[in-house]
Amino acid sequence: MVGAVLRGLRVRSWPLGFTAAAVIVYFFYDRILPNLDNSVQSGFQNWLPIGTITYCLVWVMLALGLNIVVGYAGLLDLGYVAFWAIGGYTAAWLMSTFAFDKQIHFSFLAPNGYNHAVGIHISFWIVLVVGALFCALWGALIGAPTLRLRSDYLAIVTLGFGEIIPQFFRNGESIFGQNISNGTKGITPLDPIGTGPLSPVLGGKAVLGPFDLIDKYLIFVVLAAICMFVSLRIRSGRLGRAWLAIREDELAASMMGVPLMRTKLAAYAVGAFFGGIGGVAFASYNSSTIPTFSFSDSITILLMVVVGGMGNVWGVTIGALVISWINLKGLSQFGDWFNGQFSTHVNFPSYNFLIFGIILVLMMLFRREGILPESRTRQLLKEPSRTEMESVGADIEAAEVESELVEDIAPEFAVQSETETLGSGE
């Protein structure tokens, strides 16, 4: 009874905790920090600027998307960065002057000052949805041929797609004579986020410029919260159960009427949808889409999911925040401090994958289930199942009976027989 109440509390306390943290961060950076001592200000500016928090939130969205595929449905995807790229380029196409050389002039709900410019200019909020849906479509397209494969084979093929799509954009200056991505130069600048009816809330600005970091933070924190909300809701429904079932036992799931292909495709599409949101948000945050997407990004996102705790939304969120912060600020700041302290010249950020590798090895050795694991996974790793214990118990009983028998018949072999049974029991 008490346990049930506690569990109920814990379920509700995480969203509350996240909301509280988000609000506290907002007030701290918006109201408190500017009034603090200069050294404190510069400390925060160096170690944890609001822009970095906002950027980390993009990684949270991406990690939550991959969590649907890897954590919920148990499909190892090593090419998730593809959806980030597709989302990013969708944003670039629809929010910049890029389409100008194709003689396309179109604007829809674009912020004032951008609605008459050449190219395509569509409101950030609409692009967010369009980009996410476009990614979901691509998720299904990529998934359809690959999801028939199992485990390792699926991982290898997704790895391939994760390479193909960024390469395609990197070399996309002349696809059948059409420039679709500006190649390595990328597409820049992108339209700023128009505030529209939210303008009064965000301090009366019509658009968010490069220095309206706190407002962008607010928007991104809401987007991340939406991803969490959707993740949690889907988990508890019909589709979430089907994903779990597939993760547990694919054959049994199909025998219980779960259509494998369609259900896995749904996982891919929903995961890609989040990737699209992250991609559009990231492009808008940087005001550019440059083909820097690489395999290492896929691995970093996967690392966030694994370290955080596969399948647990809160674990993945924490994993994403911590790892992206280490990647963006933590390492370089620590490096500066370390080099200053010991007058060395170690380039710490260049060791990031070494450090992540060590983290991963240590996690696998000491906390395989992640920082904040899903209760189910914790079960699997920490406690032997009752049937396992029963069978061990049965073995011990059998061994006892046997050794008693042996003792009766031939006492000199008794000890040897016991050690044998113990050895075979392992």
Binding site: R238, L239, R241, A252, R376, R386, T387
Partner: protein, 274 residues
């Protein structure tokens, strides 16, 4: 309450739920199942027996859609399902259990049962995310049905327990509850008494008849335990080396020399079916 457990001679006169018509499966040069014709009449308990390697499991897998026959066809409720995918077969009312229990171990007993309702539920991503009224209603009904089914198989109290933590017997029961959640017309049980003690096996007979009568399903049993087979079945089909060597009521099978021969060998050496 339960109907008399004696065999009913009129079983064959009832309409067939599931029919296998001249089914043959070859794996390369090996003929695993050779021209087997087989019927499950409505509301009947049918058993498929045979010594090890007789092709029982292969044939079973043809019925459930894991294998496709080299020739022949399978009909279910008057519909040709020879090439229908397993999940489709499940959705139209063919449910099975597994010889070596295959539950969703890290899901609760209730969730296990609810997974099998997937095909009968409608809600999609958007309805689930927004928790639309009809989605909530559907979930509530699913929860209730799952609890009812768990009660039916006698493990109602374990609904919140992870499947892997259930005792062996309860896991077997949960498998049946999960299969029943498909609202099946035919229930295929693959060696359901494996690992049960004689006491449990005896109660199992009663249980199968209760399932048949209260859930209005036909039951196909693959079984090694002859005492269970003889008590529970109305019709028995015997396979040996891929061929159907006998079909009939338990009395007829007991009297069949070919069956005795297949099981015990001509010399009378006792074979073992484990």
């Amino acid at each position: 309450m339960s109907e008399p457990t004696m065999t009913e001679p009129d079983a064959l006169s009832r309409p067939a739920v599931l029919t296998a018509d001249h089914v043959t499966i070859r794996f390369g040069g090996l003929v695993a199942v050779d021209d087997v014709t087989f019927t499950i009449p409505e509301g009947t308990v049918v058993s498929l027996i045979g010594p090890n390697g007789a092709g029982k499991t292969t044939f079973f897998n043809v019925l459930t859609g894991l294998y496709q026959p080299t020739s022949g066809r399978v009909d279910f409720g008057g519909r040709d399902i020879t090439f229908l995918a397993p999940h489709r077969r499940a959705a139209i009312g063919m449910a099975r259990t597994f010889q070596n229990i295959r539950l969703f171990n890290l899901m609760t007993a209730e969730e296990n049962v609810m997974v099998a309702m997937h095909a009968h539920m409608r809600s999609g991503v958007i309805g689930t995310v927004l928790r639309a009224p009809w989605q909530r209603r559907e979930e509530r009904v699913a929860h209730e049905t799952a609890r009812d089914l768990l009660d039916f198989v006698g493990i109602g109290k374990t609904f919140g327990e992870y499947a892997r933590n259930l005792s062996y017997g309860d896991q077997r029961r949960l498998e049946v509850a999960r299969a029943l959640a498909l609202k099946p017309r035919v229930l295929l049980l693959d060696e359901p008494t494996a690992g049960m003690n004689p006491n449990e096996s005896a109660r199992f007979t009663e249980f199968v008849h209760r399932v048949r009568d209260e859930k209005k399903v036909s039951v196909l049993l693959i079984e090694h335990d002859m005492s269970v087979v003889m008590r529970v079945s109305e019709r028995i089909t015997v396979l040996d080396r891929g061929q159907q060597i006998a079909e009939g009521t338990p009395e007829q099978i007991r009297a069949s020399e070919r069956v005795v021969e297949a099981y015990l060998g001509k010399s009378g050496m006792r074979g073992h079916g484990a």
